[in-house]
């Protein structure tokens, strides 16, 4: 169970803008520690955002995404008070789900 995400969702015209700050090391697997050993890759592989049982965003991430990633996107629809649910799964199988209400 990873660290909590910070999610903000707000109506912009006829769309909802969602901003998510995730806490994750996003280790590329290319770095070496002081002893010269490779630090194993550890990164978010999948991100899913659900609104009203509909998947409004589905992403596959790789090691180009930096530590503590910030995701910002818009989807058509949404009303104040609706729930937006964000889930990430990383390459170790660890996952985190958080939700926020559209402001």
């Amino acid at each position: 169970m990873g660290d909590p995400m910070k999610i903000r969702a707000a109506i912009v015209g006829d769309e909802t803008e969602v901003k998510v700050l995730m806490s994750h090391e996003m280790e590329t697997g290319q770095r070496k520690n002081a002893k010269g050993q490779v630090i194993p890759a550890w990164f978010i592989q999948n991100v899913t955002v659900v609104w009203k049982d509909k998947t409004v965003l589905s992403a596959q991430w790789g090691t180009a995404v930096s530590k503590n990633p910030f995701l910002s996107f818009r989807f058509k629809g949404g009303a104040k008070g609706d729930k937006v649910i964000v889930t990430w799964v990383d390459n170790r199988g660890d996952r985190r789900t958080d939700e926020a209400l559209i402001a």
């Binding site: 901003k19 180009a64 530590k67 990633p69 910030f70 910002s72």
Partner: protein, 268 residues
């Protein structure tokens, strides 16, 4: 992928006479930094810090909610902008971080060594509670005007010592703080340097710490900034919460008086 921040942001370097190309490099970097302001990972430390402030912890299983940061027990809002200052109970001028250590020891029963351990985090395996608490308390002073007191004789003495230390040349390279931060309009490589001996420079710089340092992947505090400056000055290791650290903080924070506090920020 829309709007996902990656460290591989492309900097547009103009192919032009060197001077023009050189200033457009700095401009592009400034644009990159502006783009980073949204979704500042410092918020993750603020959230964790608020949790640590409110949770019962330590041998006494008490929260920090009775900790007096200068505005009365438990008053967090605006406190950072009024620090460092003299505290009678500790009989010492304290910055936020040494005050947090004080409260962790006196209220929660931690030993000083326990409270002071791991001041600078290193990844999710070695998190710093002090950095998280500092981020939280600092965030509660966002927008508040810097108002560091200089009424008590010990506060005045600390300011004067801080000023002396600012100009103290030493180490293999003869560096003082003033070597890099004592002149207007200078930069190291492409990093602009504030003139910290002036109100203008101190206001611009001091009000942006603590900050998420992208290159570190961590939230870094003003104690860290001093520690890392001295490391690069080829000095030995600055002790966390030491007299020199606090004196310099008094000097710089007081010089910043009048400016609105804007941290936690985000930096390269």
């Amino acid at each position: 992928m829309t709007g996902v921040r990656s460290l591989g942001v492309v900097l547009a370097l103009a192919i032009a006479p060197a001077a023009l190309a050189q200033s457009s490099t700095a401009d592009e970097i400034a644009k990159y930094r502006a783009a980073l302001q949204d979704g500042n990972p410092a918020e993750l430390w603020e959230i964790r810090g608020e949790g640590l402030w409110k949770a019962p912890r330590g041998p006494k299983q008490v929260s920090l909610e009775r900790c007096d940061l200068g505005l009365g027990p438990g008053v967090v809002k605006g406190a950072y902008a009024r620090l460092p200052r003299y505290f009678a109970d500790a009989d010492r001028v304290q910055d936020l971080e040494s005050r947090l250590v004080w409260c962790m020891v006196t209220l929660q029963g931690f030993t000083p060594a326990e409270a002071r351990k791991n001041p600078f985090g290193n990844g999710s395996a070695a998190r710093s509670d002090l950095e998280a608490l500092t981020a939280y308390v600092a965030s509660e002073a966002k927008g508040v005007k810097m108002d560091v007191p200089l009424d008590h004789p010990r506060e005045l003495a600390a300011y004067r010592v801080g000023e002396k230390l600012f100009y103290y040349r030493g180490g293999t390279h003869d560096f003082a703080c003033a070597t890099c931060h004592g002149e207007e309009g200078k930069r190291i490589r492409l990093q602009d340097l504030p003139d910290l001996a002036t109100a203008e420079g101190a206001r611009a710089a001091y009000t942006t710490w603590p900050a998420y340092r992208v290159s570190q992947g961590e939230l870094r505090t003003f104690e860290w900034r001093l520690y890392d400056c001295f490391r690069q000055q080829r000095f030995p290791e600055l002790v966390f919460g030491s007299d020199a650290a606090i004196a310099l903080t008094v000097f710089l924070a007081r010089n910043a008086n009048g400016a609105p506090f804007s941290a936690p920020g985000i930096k390269r």
